[in-house]
């Protein structure tokens, strides 16, 4: 397993290379480029450019070079830590996304921990008290949580908040803090707005995880080692927590690999609905405006997060499960 993790780490650059090519091809795929959409935009506002200006613009952004040269330049700049300049915003990408990325990570991690903190006990209780009223209630909750896309939850929450309390729950900051520099007051304001998106994202995450936990635990509860623990005279809850829960957690840990990236990219849609200043809405805008360097950088970030998720789950699993640790 240790070898496996080392192998994974060594593979990381290779994977990133593959992903970056992937990202670049995707970005290049649409017909036309940023300049085309820029011209279209100018045209709609009534002004225009002549061919010389257009060519100059293309040359300035390197859009007139062959694709592999463009990729090579892009990649070599990224390797030097320079994400480039957004064509659309006319600002360095790093500057554009840093705060947004931090907010995305905060929402993602909070969702992640909250989902786990809720899902594990819910899964345990509904497995141990199978077919109880509680279990049925949780099953219904789980099904609904799985069946309701999070953007719908966001829409409904937005509507309820508006029709019941007359408040608009969009954004992460109150108007006076949107462009304010960081301060304690701004953090407090953030926390006041943060709970709703986190709660919405947690809903479906919790439902999925709790379902997995319940199924895993049900499998374990009938195992002879549980009976043996009972025959030793342990008290019921203590033995359940020590043995079957401990075993059932392991497969749950392996879900971190897809759960973490899912939260990050899933928050994209919710963020769009709730108009949150995270990288999701910015990604969407960059796609529609063909702001390729920005879109590429964000795709690459999403890929990185996905890889890190798998890596974390691998390491945790090896740490938790001796059977996996001993595997050579």
């Amino acid at each position: 397993m240790i070898q496996h993790i080392i192998k994974r780490l060594l593979l990381l650059p290779v994977l990133l290379l593959i992903f970056s090519i992937f990202a670049f091809i995707i970005i290049q795929a649409p017909p036309g480029d940023f300049v085309t959409s820029y011209i279209a935009e100018l045209a709609s506002s009534g002004s225009s450019m002549d061919q010389v200006q257009i060519d100059a613009l293309r040359a300035q952004y390197g859009l007139d070079q062959p694709i592999y040269t463009q990729y090579g330049k892009w990649m070599s700049r990224i390797l030097r830590g320079d994400l480039g300049v957004s064509l659309d915003w006319q600002k360095p990408i790093k500057e554009l996304i840093t705060e947004r990325l931090v907010l995305t990570l905060i929402i993602g991690l909070m969702t992640f921990f909250l989902s786990w903190v809720l899902a594990v006990p819910i899964g345990i209780v509904s497995a141990v008290k199978k077919y109880s009223l509680l279990d049925y209630g949780l099953t219904v909750f789980n099904y609904i949580g799985i069946a309701t896309p999070s953007f719908l939850v966001a829409l409904i929450a937005m509507w309820l908040a508006f029709s019941w309390f007359g408040v608009s729950v969009t954004g992460l900051f109150s108007a006076e803090f949107v462009d304010a520099p960081w301060s304690m007051a701004r953090v407090g304001d953030l926390l006041k707005h943060l709970w709703l998106p986190v709660l919405i994202l947690t809903l479906s995450g919790t439902a999925r995880l709790a379902r997995i936990m319940r199924a895993n635990l049900l499998d374990e509860l009938n195992k002879p080692y549980v009976e043996m623990a009972r025959a030793k005279g342990m008290s019921e809850w203590k033995l359940i927590m020590k043995y079957p829960v401990r075993v059932a957690i392991n497969p749950l840990v392996s879900t971190i690999g897809w759960f973490l990236p899912l939260i990050f990219s899933g928050s994209l849609v919710v963020a769009t609905v709730l108009n949150l200043p995270t990288i999701g809405p910015m990604f969407l805008r960059s796609l529609t405006n063909q702001d390729m360097f920005l879109a590429g950088a964000i795709v690459l970030i999403y890929c990185m997060l996905a890889i890190i998720g798998t890596l974390i789950s691998d390491i945790l699993l090896a740490w938790l499960d001796p059977r996996i640790r001993m595997e050579s």
Partner: protein
């Protein structure tokens, strides 16, 4: 018993005699009761023999039938499928017809009893121009009753694309005065600043005055079929690649497995978005439809391929497969007579569970404006109308398509779970 035997005590001989008379009955090792119980059809404890010889699909069906919620979900899905097959019949209006004057008419619920007499009707809606916003605002007016009729004539269409007809499930029952009024002033009558809508809008109308109910019926066709087609494509890909990977092993298996790993470690949602954004805006509705299907299937086949390969590998070690091999069955026979039937119910369950995922994915792609685009109608396109707080606040019924999404996804999930439990009662 040709061989000589040592003298036996009398009871031993009786045992042997008894054995000969009962030679047809062999010693059957006892199946644990709980397993038996899962296998037994309701009330069939007496003919216990029946399920020893029943084919696999029958066992699955027996077990499935006992799962009441899954049965109900199955019925719901049959109903939704019928809608998807003949949306015209259920629609009350042409889904593309716009009527700028009748935008945002609220839901008109059907009332079945008019003063204790069975006579279905809806309350009419009256619109008043708001002097400030200059928009016509509609409210349900309980003083106007519009009688409705089932199997009423409406706009002409071809049922299932072949039978020309104009009968719809519900429609306004035309009375003479209304018919006359209609002729006079289109679909709504203006009485001073007030307008009275004579239409029937079971789910209200949207920004452009299109009938949401009718649009929903057509959206059902598109969203459901996108789910089905995307899953079909990924199932074929999954079975094909999972199959050759499990069958040939070696390098091919390695390549397929690595590809699956790379694809699975990609974050699906951003990739979908980026790919959909790359579709040329100039493409026709059909082109976009198929492109979206392919995009959805492209990342989804890996799960199915893994599942199928894994099934193949575990099945290969099952006792009954080994027994079939040992008794000299050909490879083909083992795969098609023994492995495929046991796997098909798993595949059906996995596919059923994959459809709702696809439906949700299509919905959110279209919702974000990167999937299907108007004039195409899908659940996601419908929900796009409800994208911002202003429209929801003004017309909360625009969220109703979301409810349909939830019901469909819920039904498919329960159905899939029921199938999986029936296919494999010991796991899960």
């Amino acid at each position: 018993m040709a061989e000589p035997q040592e003298p036996q005590p009398s009871f031993g001989q009786k045992v042997l005699e008894n054995m000969q008379t009962a030679s047809a009955v062999s010693y059957k090792p006892m199946v644990r009761v709980d397993e038996d119980a899962a296998l037994a059809p309701v009330g069939a404890a007496q003919d216990a023999e029946a399920f020893y010889v029943a084919p696999n699909w029958k066992l699955v069906w027996w077990r499935f039938r006992k799962h009441r919620l899954a049965m109900i979900s199955g019925l719901v899905m049959i109903f939704i499928t019928i809608i998807a097959l003949a949306p015209d019949f259920f629609a009350t209006q042409n889904p593309h017809t716009t009527n700028a004057l009748e935008s945002f008419i609220p839901v008109q619920r059907i009332h079945f009893f008019d003063e204790r007499r069975l006579s279905p009707f809806v309350f009419g809606a009256t619109g008043q121009r708001n002097p400030k916003s200059l928009r016509v605002e509609w409210v349900i007016d309980e003083s106007v009753k519009i009688p409705v009729r089932f199997f009423a004539p409406g706009y002409p269409y071809k049922l299932l694309g072949v039978i020309p007809t104009n009968i719809h499930l519900v429609g306004v029952a035309p009375t003479e005065e209304q018919a006359a009024a209609k002729e006079a002033a289109g679909s709504s009558t203006a009485a001073g600043p007030q307008r009275i809508s004579q239409g029937l809008h079971l789910m209200g109308t949207d920004r452009l005055g299109r009938d949401q109910w009718s649009r929903l019926m057509f959206g059902t066709r598109v969203s459901l079929s996108i789910g089905l087609v995307a899953v079909a494509v990924s199932t074929i890909l999954g079975i094909f690649l999972g199959g050759i990977s499990g069958y040939f092993g070696g390098t091919i298996d390695m390549i397929v497995q690595r590809t699956i790993e790379i694809l699975q470690s990609l974050p699906a949602i951003p990739i979908w978005l980026a790919l959909s954004a790359a579709l040329p805006r100039t493409w026709s509705v059909e082109q976009t439809y198929f492109a979206i299907t392919i995009i959805l299937a492209l990342l989804a086949w890996t799960t199915l391929a893994r599942e199928i390969r894994g099934r193949f590998l575990t099945l290969r070690d099952e006792d009954f497969i080994i027994a079939a091999k040992l008794s000299g069955c050909s490879q083909q026979r083992v795969i098609f007579r023994h492995m495929a039937p046991t796997m098909s119910s798993h595949i059906i369950a996995a596919v059923t569970l994959a459809i709702p995922v696809m439906i949700i994915n299509e919905t959110f792609l279209s919702f974000l404006g990167l999937g299907l685009r108007p004039p195409a109608i899908s659940w996601g396109v419908l929900l796009q109308e409800a994208q911002n707080l202003q429209s929801i606040a003004l017309a909360p019924w625009l969220l109703l398509p979301g409810l349909v999404v939830i019901i469909t996804v819920l039904a498919l999930n329960i159905l899939g779970d029921g199938l999986r439990d029936a296919a494999d009662p010991y796991t899960s």
